[in-house]
Each structure stands twice: as structure tokens, then as C-alpha cells.
Symmetry: C2
Subunit: 370 residues, 2 copies
């Protein structure tokens, strides 16, 4: 099966095999060694000297950890949203009592640093900003460095959803001044889902000390205390740590610059291929994500039928649209374990199946390179 | 390694091998089929017609889910605690603003239904009761059926920590009238940690509708909605579901009554062996747990040294004491994947190592069966 969704991504055989390792005492020396190696590898990947905690939960649990560990009920925060995951981040903050002001951008567009600056200038009572680095629902990567610069200039706390960006596209936590950054094992890391990673800057820890949102299972303070003893506060998903241990070694052997370049190449194959077929990309081109390509469903073509045809006749699994995008787009995932050939196979299969579903490419398409 | 701690337990090769299965779309038909089979198997194991939701988190996350999905800030609840996990359950409820009244029993003792009745009679404003079924910190199994009967008679909501009991000792959710019941994959289920199971009765769902504690990641309402579509609200730990799928089949093939009998036999070997060595059991005998045997450290013997000796010379890993019990007891885990021979190996190793550490058995010990 060519699993081309934006996570979980396929995992290398080495990682899958590591998952089969027998259990150890999670409070013993073997697990402590794994936790230490994984944490050190994550810090290198995050490019940070900040603490990085590993929590046993999905990426959404990591986002909740970012919120409840730094904010308080009644606190005024700015949500910068460009899609479904931006909305989710804001919803979590609201659930725990934050007063959320929304700076929403049109689906398919990136967030504009100028408008962020304006929003923070207009309302000085905002104390924190929530931003999605890579929005998989629309296939857009935000200009995080520029957005972070604005947040830094205003002296606000910056919480970043880097669940699907980190390990696939550059995300320099320290250089860009990101306070809380969340990622998840099932994305660029090439590991099954179940672990979330949360980095916290000294400024974030100060916010943690002041924060009054309730937290227990997702308390990063407890995670930091336990990590100092080579443990986690609650029983960790040991098998997934084994997987991360191997995956980090593989990714570092490939080299992070090569990993990013591979994602860029795969994304180029997807975007070029889609355009050549006469299809329309959903994302604003300069901000099109290197992790997932979102394609507008051609007039009259059912996304459900297209996905079924690809699955049944080509063993290719694509993602549909989320929320308001359901039925309007389909998405080609190309992050984690992915090669250009696997992405090209998707383009080839689309070329076969789309015409059967009634798609007629615009005049002049099909011969010249786009 | 003979891993004899009260979880994570060793996993059968069939389960470990299933963990290596490649990823699938967590919103596609393959995962839906796994989720359906696992949920059905859990319902049979819980002996319930109630909804059983699977959350990607540790058992502690499951306990938090039990609390935040049914209670409200300011609500008055009774914590029935016999050890560290009872304290944890209460701490979670307090963290989220519940007003907790404590009915604590001495470590090593079970909770007394009479005193529970008294506590509920004395204070009619209590609306819910938190009980640990099997307290691994002390090695005591509570008489849950009797305790639940009292709670039912008073018409209170009953939240049960069955993290380490379910799948190892009988726990009849419907017959005993348990409203919310939590278990975790790394215990009797013989699967690595990372999944929690939460069953909710119709009464618990009514409490859910009224409940005002904040919840997002651990919202069982969202989990129920998604489950109806063969999905989970957030990306699930797919590999651990694969493991559960295989483990449930193995456990059902063995038969639940045989599984319980095996735990009973292993516990008997542990308790008899410990007594024959002249050591003292910590748990009140009629309530000694079939999942873990807690042993008082003999005068002058260091638990740390004993654990090191067993690990280094016998490849046996025992657990130490938790919280106030640290240094005072050691614990022999015998739940999940366990045979009488593996437990006997612990007894044999103790017989070799204890004398080296200065242990002199009481007069008359060493020849006659206890």
C-alpha cells in the first residue's frame, strides 16, 4: 500500500522491527538510556537548548499540553489560524477558559506578518499567540520565522503547532525564538502515532509557573521532574520510544538538510505533476507545503470515488478534505518515509483514473511541461 | 529478562510481532475494522453493554478521563484510597476543582464496605465515589463488588480505577453496577503501554452531559462520536491497536476463567514461596492481589541491593516500593504474560540472594511448608 496521507506516514522496516522489542522496566536503566537518547536527538532536531518533553498522546494532546501548561483562564490570547488545525488549537485554549481573539486567514493562504503586527498593536492586552506552522488541512506552510519575529517584537508568548512540520521542513526553535513547540511521532519522524514532543523555553517555564489552567496527565512540569531521573511521570508508550530511537538515528544518518531536501523534491514532483494533469493546487504557491499537496477536486469529480479508485486499483491511499473542505479537495501526503517515485506513482494513477471519472483537462494540457 | 513488575508486563511474541505491522489510514476501512474488533473484545472482557472507548494515553490519562468527563468543579466526591494510586485518583479530581473528602485505609488493608456506607450516610452531599479496584502499590485487591453495592444503594456515581485489575481478576462492570471503569493496555492485556480503556454507563453519560470540567483531548463524548464512524477523534496509537487485536484473541482463546485461574495460581506460588522463605507479606491475606505480591523488606536488607542482585545475577526485575513504601517493600509482579515457573524462578533467586544480603530467616523456616 502506498500510504499517501499527511500522517500517519509509512514507517521504515528498521523502525517497525524496533517496535517488536520486548518490554523493559520503565523505571529501570534500559528505558532511561532510550529516553535520554531520544530526548537528545529531539533537541538536535528542534535545534534547541530548551527542554523537550515526550508525552504519550497524539499531537492534539501535545497541543493541549502547550495550552494548559502556559495559560490561565481569562487570559487573552491571539489565535492565528489558516485552517482546521489552527481552529483546533484555538478551541483547546477556549475549552480551558482562555479568551481567544481570532485572526483567521482564508483557507489556502498563509498568515500575513503585517496583519499579525497590526492585531498585536491594536490590542496590547493579548499575552500569547497560537500559530500553526504547517497546516495539513490546506497544505500551507506559514512563514513562521517572520511571524515569530513579529511576536518577539511585541514580547508575547509564542505557542507553535509544529506537529506536521518539524522533521520535514526547517523549524529552528532557538534561532526563531519559539517558546512552546509541539510535534508528533507519526509525521516526519517516520514512527507510528502515540508520542507528542513539546519544547519549552525559559519564558515558557515562567509562564508555566504562573499558569492556572488545570493539568495533570499532560503536566510538562511533572514530565521535566521525571526526565531528570530518566523516567516519565506516567507509564510511557515504551514501544514507540524504541521506534523513535531508531528513526532519529536514521534521520541523522541521512542528515537533516538532506531530509528537508527530500521533502522539497517529493513536493516538487507532486505539484509539477498535478499542474501537468491540468489540476489546480489549492495552496497559495509560495507557501505550498512540502509535506502535503492539496488539490482542488475538478468540477464534477467525486473525491470519494477518486479515493476509492486509487485505493482499489492502485493501492494508493490519499486523504480527503477536512471540515469545510470535505468533498472539495483531495490531499497527497509526502512526508516521513517517502520517495519521489512513490509520489510520481500517485500522479500516474491520477492520470489513469481521473478521465474515467469524467475529468476533461483544460485545452493545451497534457503535452507541455507546466 | 524475567520482567516481574506490575506493568508493563512482558508481551507474547504474537503481540510484539503485530506491532510491526505497517501503518494504515487511521480514517480508512482497515483501521475501522481493528477498532471495531478491539472494542467488541473489550466489551466482552469488561462484561458490559456500556460504551467502551479507547484513548491513546497511559492509565493515568484514563483516570483523568474518568474524572473530567463526569464531574464538575466544586462537586463533592468521596475518594476511597488504599494506596498510591488511590491518592493519584483523588489528586486528579482535586486538580480539576472537585471537593474531595478522603476515606483512607491503612496501606496493606482493603477498603471496608461498612465504613464506606457510614461515610456516604454521614454526608449526603457527596455525589460520586472514586475507588481503586486493585492497588498495585500495596498489592491489595479491594472487595469491589461489595463496595459497589454500597455506592449503588446510596445512588452515587461510581468511578473505578481498574487499570491493573481488569483482564487479570474478575471485574463484572454490568453485574456490579460500575459507572466508569478504566483499564490500561500494559497490564493483564499483555500489550505495551499507551492505550487506556474507559467504559461509561448510561448514568455516567448523563453525568457527562452535566459535567463542567474542561476536557478536549480526553473527551469521551468526542471519542464516542468518532467511534460510531469507526474512528478516533485524534490520531490513535495504531500499532498498539494491532497489538490489542491479537492479545484479545489470545486471551479469549485461553478463556477468561482460565486467565483468572492462571493469575490465581501464579499469585499462590508467589505468596507460598515468600512465606516459606520466612518473609512477611505486606497485604492483608484475604485481599492479597493476584497481580502483584508485596513483600516487607527484611530488617537490614536493602531493597535497592536486592533488586540489583536479582537483575544482575538472575535477569529478574522486581519493583521497589512507591511513595512512602520506598525502601520498605519490594514487589513481585505476576500479571499479563506470566507462568508459575517464572514466579517460582523469583522465589528461587530470592532464596539464593537474600542470605548474601544478611537475611536470617526466623527459626523453623526453610523446611516445612507454610
Amino acid at each position: 500500500m502506498n500510504l499517501r496521507i499527511p500522517g500517519p506516514t509509512p514507517c521504515p522496516p528498521e523502525v517497525l522491527s524496533a517496535l517488536s522489542t520486548q518490554m523493559v522496566d520503565h523505571r529501570g536503566p534500559e528505558f532511561a538510556a532510550v529516553l535520554e537518547r531520544v530526548t537528545a536527538g529531539l533537541k538536535r532536531a528542534f535545534r534547541t537548548e530548551n527542554d523537550v518533553l515526550v508525552l504519550t498522546c497524539a499531537g492534539t494532546g501535545g497541543l493541549e499540553a502547550a495550552v494548559v501548561n502556559t495559560l490561565s483562564p481569562g487570559e487573552r490570547v491571539l489565535s492565528v489560524s489558516i485552517g482546521e488545525f489552527g481552529k483546533r488549537f484555538a478551541a483547546i485554549a477556549e475549552t480551558y477558559g482562555a479568551e481567544v481573539t481570532r485572526l483567521d486567514f482564508e483557507y489556502g493562504q498563509a498568515a500575513d506578518p503585517g496583519r499579525l503586527d497590526e492585531a498585536l498593536t491594536t490590542d496590547a492586552s493579548l499575552s500569547a499567540v497560537l500559530i500553526t506552522h504547517n497546516e495539513t488541512s490546506t497544505g500551507v506552510t506559514n512563514p513562521l520565522r517572520e511571524l515569530a519575529e513579529v511576536v518577539r517584537r511585541h514580547g508575547k508568548l509564542l505557542l507553535v503547532d509544529a506537529v506536521s512540520s518539524m522533521a520535514s521542513v526547517p523549524c529552528d526553535v532557538d534561532a526563531w525564538g519559539l517558546d512552546v513547540v509541539v510535534s508528533g511521532s507519526q509525521k516526519g519522524w517516520m514512527v507510528p502515532p502515540g508520542l507528542a514532543f513539546v519544547s519549552m523555553s525559559p519564558r515558557a517555564w515562567r509562564a508555566h509557573d504562573r499558569s492556572r489552567m488545570p493539568r495533570f496527565y499532560l503536566d510538562t512540569g511533572k514530565a521535566r521532574e521525571s526526565a531528570a531521573k530518566g523516567q516519565t511521570p506516567w507509564t510511557p508508550a515504551v514501544s514507540l520510544f524504541y521506534g523513535m530511537d531508531v528513526a532519529l538515528e536514521m534521520l541523522e544518518q541521512e542528515g537533516w538538510e538532506s531530509v528537508f531536501a527530500r521533502h522539497q523534491c517529493c513536493a516538487d514532483v507532486a505539484r509539477r505533476g498535478v499542474r501537468r494533469l491540468g489540476l489546480e493546487l489549492f495552496a497559495d504557491p509560495p507557501f505550498a507545503s512540502n509535506t502535503v499537496t492539496t488539490v482542488r477536486a475538478p468540477e464534477g469529480v467525486s473525491v470519494a470515488d477518486l479515493r476509492t479508485a486509487l485505493r482499489e486499483r492502485h493501492e494508493i491511499v490519499l486523504a480527503g478534505g477536512q471540515g469545510p473542505m470535505a468533498g472539495k479537495v483531495f490531499r497527497i501526503g509526502h512526508l516521513g518515509l517517502v520517495t519521489e517515485a512513490e509520489v510520481q506513482a500517485v500522479i500516474d494513477a491520477l492520470a489513469v483514473e481521473l478521465p474515467k471519472l469524467g475529468f476533461v483537462p483544460p485545452v493545451g494540457i497534457g503535452s507541455s511541461p507546466a
